[in-house]
Amino acid sequence: MSRTIAYAILALGALTMVFPFFWMIVSSLKTAAEVNTTPPTFLPESPTFDNYVYAFEKAPFARYFLNSVIVTAACVASTMFTTILAAFAFSRLKFPGRDVLFASLLALMMIPFEMLIITNYQTIVGWKLTDTRWALIIPFTSSIFYTYILRNFFLSIPDSLYYSARVDGASNWRYLWRVMVPMAKPALATIGLLNAITCWNAFLWTVLVTNSPENRTLPFGLYAFMTSSGIRYERLMAAATIVVIPMVILFVCFRKNIVTGVSRGGLKG
């Protein structure tokens, strides 16, 4: 196949993948009249930010945004903490049954989250946490998948470093935070990013356990905006842009980390 054809096909494919994003932004900058025209205009005639203003005024998108930031930050921080400790135990500490325990945890990875929602919902109701942001954080503090990635990374750090640190009198705790965690920064960045993307986009669980606008995150807020304010595509596209842009920026900045993480895990982010 000649080079030109290869480039043409790649460009066409790239266009198909990016086009919905382009179309979302273009539509969000149009007036109601211009959105509903045939043939469609590919660039807004007189770009307007009115739709963004409308979204922020008529629905508490600023609030949703803040909630998403809080929930995502809390999820990532707590997951990182439990993951670092568990990965350390599974890679450096020696205790009977360690590898059997780890193997059985890996088997648990195939349980689909959708299967667990019924009982987890009952637990959250029992703890009187429905319609709080806690309900969006607490069930997601432990991840077998991230622990698995980090444990493998920790295993690649030589044992000799550990023993010399121990001889020097460093405790496990100190060694972990002073030596291993700084060395594992790339792996931690990858895990953190994948985790942030998952939290930011979570939908099913959010619909189940939150209700009032004060506690909604962006995806649910966007869905509520669609059902409550009617199908006005220029407005909906503005709202969708608000939800999508932060992750797009994150992706453009950290593409390499995210791509390695995904290909290593073979798991959807």
Binding site: M24, A86, I118, P219, Y223, V244, S263, G266
Partner: protein, 306 residues
């Protein structure tokens, strides 16, 4: 002397007690979350699925039995969900894999602007299904949607994608293929990069043509990755659900004919509050995923020494 020895022994046992406690302390936060929100609900949902006339608030039930499974398997909506999920998997997974294989092959060549191309191809992976699903809803719009406009350029009639039940599943499938591509390309690209360059050098030295190299060298060496990708995608496609919310306003298709397995589970649980049925459908979903995972493990083991 004896007292000294005793003290030393006491010290040592204290130390070993601390050493034994260390793993427990390091694992405690992780295991607590896992026990409460993965292990317990997993066991509990299986139990609920066998409890007849289960009441959520009191936890009462009349007897253990298979009533819920009979109800679910006899429910036309669940069978509709199985059928739709099956068709979705059957169309989306092979189509996405073939297109991704082709694009990953091109992306793996010595090309310029590699970073830009990768950014374009992988972007949909990080975006919310709700948000980008809304964009697709807009593009599928009957009157002013872009897809019908493109069809009109080729002289085709406008298709009522989202309101004519006959076109609901095709619309979901088109959107599904698009959203599955990035992840599939990443996995296949990693597979391409793992192939030792020496094979190609040798083949080229023998004067093999590019088409032949692809069929005789690349494809066989890539087979394990392709197999793995197919299974992982089948698992994720069999959980299709969130896409229905933006596309069909939270309904299973415009005429309630586009149930999926997970939509049925959600509906039985959160809309109808029939917990027994929801639990039974959750267990059936698990069995499907488990079967696919076992196939995946089998493939991985078989090709380990390739």
């Amino acid at each position: 002397m004896k007292r000294l020895e005793k003290a030393a022994r006491r010290d040592r046992s204290k130390l070993s007690a601390r050493a034994a406690l260390a793993p427990a302390a390091f694992l405690a936060p992780f295991m607590t979350g896992l026990a409460i929100f993965t292990l317990y609900p997993f066991v509990n949902v299986i139990l609920i699925s066998f409890k007849e006339k289960y009441k959520m608030l009191t936890g009462e039930f009349s007897a253990f039995g298979t009533e819920n499974y009979q109800a679910v398997l006899g429910d036309p909506n669940f069978l509709n969900g199985l059928r739709n999920t099956g068709l979705y998997v059957l169309f989306v997974v092979p189509a996405a894999t073939v297109i991704a294989l082709f694009l990953a092959y091109l992306l793996n060549k010595e090309i310029k602007l590699k970073g830009l191309f990768q950014t374009c191809y992988f972007l949909p992976m990080v975006t919310s299904v709700t948000a980008i699903g809304l964009v697709w809803k807009w593009m599928f719009n009957y009157d002013y949607g872009l897809i019908n406009y493109l069809l009109s350029l080729f002289g085709a009639d406008a298709v009522n994608w989202l309101n004519n039940p006959a076109y609901n599943l095709p619309a979901l499938i088109i959107y599904g293929i698009w959203s599955m591509l990035p992840f599939t390309i990443i996995l296949l690209l990693a597979g391409f990069q793992n192939i030792n360059a020496q094979y190609y050098t040798a083949a080229r030295a023998d004067g093999a043509k590019p088409g032949k190299i692809f069929l005789r060298i690349t494809l066989p060496l890539l087979a394990p990755t392709i197999g793995l990708t197919l299974i992982i995608n089948m698992i994720s496609a069999s959980k299709v659900f969130s896409e229905l919310f933006p596309l069909f306003n939270g309904q299973p298709g415009s005429a309630y004919s586009l149930y999926t397995v997970v939509y049925y589970l959600y509906d039985a649980f959160y809309v109808q509050w029939k917990l027994g049925r929801a639990a039974a459908s959750a267990v059936i979903l698990f069995v499907i995923v488990l079967a696919l995972t076992l196939v995946q493990l089998f493939i991985q083991r078989k090709w380990k020494n390739y």
